[in-house]
Amino acid sequence: MSNISVYDELDQAIDQMLQPQLASPSFPQRARNGWGPQRRRDPGTPSQTDEGNIRELVELAADLRDLPRANFKTRLKLELEWEAAGRRVSAGETDQQSARGVAPASGEILPSLFGKNWAGYPVRRINFALSLALHGVMAFLVGAGFLMVKSYVPRVAPQPYVTVRLDPYPVRIGSHPSGGGGSGGAADRMRASAGVAPPAAREQLTPPIVMHSMSRPRMAAAATVIAPPDLAVPRTQQIGDPLSALTTPSNGPGVAGGIGGNIGGGVGGNRGGFGRGPGAAGGCCGGPYSVGNGVSMPRAIYAPEPEFSEEARIAKFQGEVTLLVTIGTDGRAKNLAVVRSLGMGLDQKALDAVRTWRFDPAKKDGRPVAVQMNIIVNFHLF
């Protein structure tokens, strides 16, 4: 006898037990008489012992028909726990029935909306309503977000952050001749002759001179002009006024030593001093001063912020523009030039803005002087 036959016998008997209308005679009668008359026997049919065995199992199976549904016990326990916690799950007989496994009426829409839960979990109406409302708000926010993103036109408010650095551009210090100064002379009839300025020194012992009136000075000292010692200028044997076109040696019509047409110990053609060039004091070769060496930094007293160009604003382009600017004695920015370009139209915006700025001019020895300096304009979006 194979086990498969016993399994089939048992299943056949269980089928008849579960479908009493097909079982004839009734279950108790068949249980007493055995299951033989209804089955087709073959050589492997169960023995009498197997029949008794099957009968016992079928009787056991009959009791199992009354088993509760699989989730009923758990669901009822959950319901009781809620009730024990003081939270009434749902009121009404219909609600209790639904929690016990009675299916909702056909065609009923969203039964849990009204607390008639069929999902195996007790539901309170207020919870469902709150959940529904919360989901509605979230859906609204998501939808509104999509609409805002879709209709958004990129527009960045021009809020440039401008940093005005009035300190000299580092590269410029010491590599550019100091300006200003000049004049001097030895009361000659001719203007100063052409030549280069003598070496620069911070203090002048001997003003430059083209023609020595003293062949043997008691204390020899090299002629200098007042300027930073590291000032680099062309060197030739002929000392003279760099701005002059005359080649006939002359100290110029000025006085107080030096070369030029005025008073002072410098080289130049203006008011004198100890420098080089047409300015006052002891500089060289004309042009503005650089900040430092006794020349104070100009102070910005009116510096409106530059505008962003439309192109840079759309591209959210940021950076710095470095301008080389001469701050005149009148406090205005002149001779502007772009040293480091940024592009996107921001160079022009920086130039336009700095032209409108007003400065308290730089001073040397208490007098306003023109200085050349770098101004870095920062364009930053926030």
Partner: protein, 189 residues
């Protein structure tokens, strides 16, 4: 053996009294009493109603009433199950009031009034144990039992749902019933 003694098989009276006192002071502890008495109450009700849905309905009523009235329960040395079965009998009586059907239940003091009542109580205990043993079956056997006898599906349907052959499902059915029979026998020894 006295039938009331059978009711006290699963939990000793002393332990049960402590559980009741705990549940009376903290209703959330009622779950332990529920777990130990669910099968008994359900088996009692299931023998007296016409279908499973009604049995579940009445069982739920019984435990809801028990939870609500637990504060008024007074320990008299009688198993808690007797009190629950009294509630179940009353619930059934209310339902059958029109049909005027009577319900045989243990008296509230735990004494069984006649021989038929004792046999009834013993049968309830046997069924309660059987239902409890189903929960302890291996997963695959329990699945087959539930689908075959509770949902009353055919072997072919179960085989399709589980993705197994019909022979394998029949074998699981056979083994589950054999296991249950052995366990029931052991419990009576």
């Amino acid at each position: 053996m006295n039938a009331v003694a059978n009711l006290a098989n699963l939990t000793s009276l002393n332990d049960e009294r402590l559980l009741i006192q705990a549940a009376q002071s903290d209703p959330s502890r009622f779950a332990e009493l529920y777990e130990s008495n669910f099968n008994r109450v359900y088996a009692f009700v299931a023998r007296r109603v016409k279908d499973r849905e009604e049995a579940q309905d009445v069982t739920a009523d019984v435990f809801h009433q028990a939870l609500r009235n637990l504060g008024g329960f007074q320990w008299r040395g009688v198993p808690f199950a007797a009190w629950l079965l009294r509630i179940a009998a009353n619930a059934l009586a209310d339902r059958w009031q029109r049909a005027a059907r009577s319900v045989e239940v243990p008296a509230e003091d735990g004494q069984i009034e006649n021989e038929a009542g004792m046999a009834e109580t013993a049968e309830v205990e046997r069924r309660a144990m059987l239902f409890q043993l189903v929960d302890r079956l291996p997963n695959d056997q329990r699945t087959v039992v539930v689908r075959r006898f509770v949902e009353q599906k055919s072997i072919r349907e179960i085989a399709q749902e589980l993705g197994r052959s019909e022979g394998a499902v029949k074998q699981l059915q056979f083994r589950a019933l054999e296991t249950l029979r052995e366990q029931v026998r052991k419990s009576h020894e």
